[in-house]
């Protein structure tokens, strides 16, 4: 019988995968995608809890998270485009101007 525990475990696994992705990839866009994975894992957890305890607030939260994710993706990609225009690359190792 699959219960909330399974969903939460899945959420944890997906989140971890997302974290590893953020920490290891060098392409800025792919790092972004890993962040989206993390957000989705969070959404999954939220929905699970909302349905388990019967509070619709959880579902509202998910909606809001999705909206924010969309906004963040738009702005983030705009930044990446601007970055690309400066350095001709999206390798985040090339953007170490804050070094020192």
């Amino acid at each position: 019988m699959v219960g909330p525990a399974h969903y939460i475990t899945l959420s944890a696994v997906l989140f971890t995968i997302g974290v590893i992705g953020v920490l290891t990839r060098k392409n800025a866009i792919i790092v972004f995608m890993a962040i989206e994975i993390m957000l989705n894992a969070a959404n999954l957890a939220l929905v699970t809890f909302a349905m388990t305890i019967g509070d619709v607030a959880g579902l509202i939260m998910v909606l809001l998270v999705m909206a924010v994710a969309a906004a963040e993706a738009a702005v983030g990609l705009a930044i990446i485009v601007a970055m690309f225009r400066h350095r001709e690359t999206v390798n985040i190792e090339a953007f170490n101007v804050l070094r020192g």
Binding site: I8, L14, T16, L23, I30, E36, T52, V56, V62, A73
Partner: protein, 171 residues
């Protein structure tokens, strides 16, 4: 083992597998496409949880809008191949993986096993199908959670303006 359980396991496997590919693939376009697969799997999982509305929204927004945006940008920037995920070469990556494993162990072993909700929300007795339906979500959104709704609208406006401003060509 009911049908829902089977569906869960299959969808879970797809989700995990696809996201693994996302973080290991060399080809950015492949990454995007597999991410779309992940999103669909997740939408399916939402359905198994009886939140139909959100499943639909997930597909529309994530797979439909955000991923398209990603794809556009990748095509626009005309990115090439990059170095493959090579664990033995980079201590940072080793650390990350090890950490990740530890993190997972922590989450799973530490907290999830004894997960039984101690709180019951206001709609606990309502059937989940009703709870996750568009009507229920919509009603809550426009009455009790109306302020966050307006705020999100503003946020989206801001994001739009910001994105346009950032990506403009310098004259």
């Amino acid at each position: 083992m009911t049908g829902v359980d089977v569906a869960f396991w299959i969808l879970a496997a797809i989700a995990v597998g696809a996201s693994l590919v996302v973080i290991t693939s060399r080809n950015p376009v492949a990454c995007v496409l597999f991410l779309v697969v992940t999103f669909f799997a997740l939408a399916g999982l939402f359905v198994t949880l009886h939140s139909h509305f959100l499943a639909a929204v997930q597909v529309i927004i994530y797979a439909g809008a955000i991923m398209v945006l990603f794809l556009f940008v990748i095509m626009l920037l005309n990115l090439g191949q990059e170095q493959w995920f090579d664990v033995s070469n980079n201590p940072l990556r080793v650390t990350a993986v090890v950490f990740g494993a530890g993190f997972l162990a922590l989450l799973v072993g530490g907290g999830i096993s004894g997960l039984a909700p101690t709180v019951r929300g206001p709609a606990a007795e309502i059937s989940p199908d009703l709870l996750g339906s568009t009507g229920a979500v919509g009603t809550a959104l426009y009455t009790a959670y109306f302020m966050p709704f307006i705020t999100i609208a503003l946020l989206l406006l801001l994001a739009m303006v910001g994105a346009v401003a950032l990506a403009r060509r310098e004259r």
